[in-house]
């Protein structure tokens, strides 16, 4: 039984690694969903092999939960996140991040300078104070 468990575990581990490679490559969100589905089911299989090897039943409820949660994940992504704006999935370079940060700082600075109303210089209080 130990040999069977080891061989099956190795097969499942290779499957999980291949799914992770696809998860990283993409190219679209839906491909990642599909790869994540494989990963979840492989996890279910790994827990099942552990239960079969040790003849213990404590881990079986985890399988039920994983089977349901994996489904919810892929359906939610397919329903709500399948439309990807152009270029959003890309990791920005350091220069782009720095440029965006500088732009944000400049906008903040001009906003701060444009605020010159009386309230900010100790103007009189409006309304009745009880």
């Amino acid at each position: 039984m130990i040999v069977v468990s080891v061989v099956a575990s190795v097969l499942l581990a290779v499957a999980a690694v291949l799914a992770i490679v696809r998860l990283e490559r993409g190219p679209s969100m839906l491909d990642r969903t599909v790869a994540f589905d494989v990963l979840t089911t492989t996890l279910v299989g790994a827990i099942a092999i552990e239960a079969a090897w040790s003849r213990r039943t404590e881990t079986i409820p985890i399988l039920v939960v994983l089977a349901l949660v994996g489904f919810v994940g892929s359906v939610v992504i397919a329903r709500f996140a399948s439309v990807e704006p152009e270029g959003e999935g890309r990791i920005r370079t350091a220069e782009e991040v720095a440029a965006e940060e500088a732009e944000r700082q400049a906008a903040l600075e001009t906003e701060r300078e444009s605020v010159t109303d009386a309230e900010h210089h100790g103007g009189g209080a409006n309304g009745e104070v009880r």
Partner: protein, 117 residues
């Protein structure tokens, strides 16, 4: 007593075969999801070999455990998988077609853009 031991051994051997076959099918799903060229082919790898592999793995576990409560829960997992896997595959495929991630050259029959009469 002797007889019972024999049947336990038989169940263990069948369970071992089921576990190995199930792990192999899961492995083939992993290979498919990495190697296949387009979204719908990858979806096929998830929807079919993966579910068969999982059913075989869980059958192996049930044969090893000899426990009715555990077997009931494993049957529940299989039922959930059989119910949810087609739904998930359908939603992924529909979202893929609607967002233009499926090229028309990959399709033999395109009933969504050319409905049959």
């Amino acid at each position: 007593m002797e007889d019972q031991g024999f049947w336990v051994t038989v169940a263990d051997v069948v369970a071992a075969v089921c576990l190995l076959l199930g792990a192999f099918f899961s492995f083939s799903a992993g290979v498919g999801v990495l190697r296949f060229g387009n979204l719908l082919a990858r979806m096929h790898a998830v929807a079919k070999p993966q579910v068969l592999g999982l059913i075989l793995l869980l059958t192996g576990v049930a044969l090893r455990l000899h426990s009715w409560p555990a077997t009931t829960m494993l049957a529940l997992v299989v039922i959930f998988q059989l119910l949810t896997s087609p739904v998930a595959a359908h939603m992924v495929g529909r979202a893929g077609i609607r967002t233009g991630k499926v090229s028309e050259n990959d399709l033999e029959v395109d009933e969504l853009t050319n409905p049959p009469r």
